[in-house]
């Protein structure tokens, strides 16, 4: 049930997808991997939209060089843990939701525990090795993974529904080299917003998702493009999860 304050807070969404839709968001637990540039946008919009439980995980502390894009964290947060800073900001945005912020490094060993009680995974990581851990966990638990990544003016996003769409490894079989990437806050804004929109639509069961579609944003030319993805019959992650060729 939505209380009177919630009905008022979410009134512009309720006129979009009804109280039933809002209740669905309230019942959804979202795992947000990372409280950096993408994680800031994702967590702020998910908190504001009323996802009932948000668990955000990051192992780092806030640095001055983060502040051009990581809008969860403010100047006074420099030196504090991103998890604690995230919790403060998100609870300030929406006290009606439950926010769990954990200062942890995501690993194969702890991912199952971190995902406990979560219905969806938001990819806000800055590297592919950890993304592959999220991918495997999503396939194993059969919960969706909303992928996003950025570099400078460029970004990409796709929605992974285990057993139905290409997984992250199907589309990106190998991790690109790790480099210090340039980052513009507004690029995080574009991609993170797309990821949240996808998550909202998934929960509501409305619209069309970025299923088997890799969306590409080029802020330099202000253009959006997409390419099709497909499940790879020889994907090792799908095979390990027992999901190979299930849709064929």
């Amino acid at each position: 049930m939505l209380n009177d304050l919630e009905k008022k807070r979410y009134s512009r969404q309720i006129c979009l997808f009804g109280e039933d839709g809002q209740r669905r968001l309230k019942k959804t637990g979202a795992f947000i991997a990372g409280a950096g540039g993408l994680g800031s946008i994702i967590s702020i919009y998910m908190a504001a939209a009323g996802f009932g439980m948000i668990r955000i995980v990051d192992c780092d502390s806030v640095e001055l060089s983060n502040l051009n894009r990581q809008v969860l964290h403010w100047s006074g947060d420099v030196g504090t843990s991103k998890a604690a800073s995230a919790k403060d900001t998100l609870e300030g945005i929406n006290p009606e939701i439950e926010v769990e912020a954990m200062e942890e490094t995501i690993s194969i060993e702890n991912i199952d525990q971190l995902l406990s009680g979560c219905d969806i995974i938001m990819d806000a990581m800055d590297n592919f090795p950890t993304r592959y851990i999220l991918n495997k966990a999503a396939l194993k638990k059969k919960i969706p993974l909303f992928h996003g990544a950025i570099c400078g003016y460029q970004g990409q996003a796709t929605t992974i529904i285990p057993g139905k769409t290409a997984c992250l490894r199907c589309t990106f079989p190998r991790a690109p080299p790790v480099t210090t990437f340039p980052a513009l806050g507004s690029t995080c804004g574009v991609i993170g917003s797309i990821q949240v929109t996808e998550a909202v639509k998934y929960v509501l069961g409305s619209g069309g998702l970025l299923e088997n579609r890799l969306m590409l944003w080029d802020g330099l030319s202000s253009s959006m493009d997409e390419v099709a993805c497909a499940r790879n019959p020889s994907c090792q992650d799908c095979r390990e999860a027992g999901l190979e060729r299930e849709d064929n």
Partner: protein, 60 residues
């Protein structure tokens, strides 16, 4: 091409891997869509195909 430019190549049949090598592009840094669909490096292409080489970004 990853920088947004277009390049025409004349090949009979070659693997994506060979085409990337010819273009001096590190295959680890890109995914390649053949006629709009991402394909593995082992896939082959000819002059009749349109390839889109997308640089994979990893930041967050």
């Amino acid at each position: 091409m990853p920088d947004g430019s277009r390049k025409e190549m004349t090949v009979s049949v070659a693997s994506i891997e060979e085409i990337l090598k010819e273009l001096h592009i590190n295959p680890v840094e890109v995914v390649v869509a053949k006629n709009g669909k991402i394909v593995p490096e082992e896939e082959t292409a000819s002059s009749a195909d349109e390839l889109k080489i997308v640089r994979v970004v990893h930041g967050g």
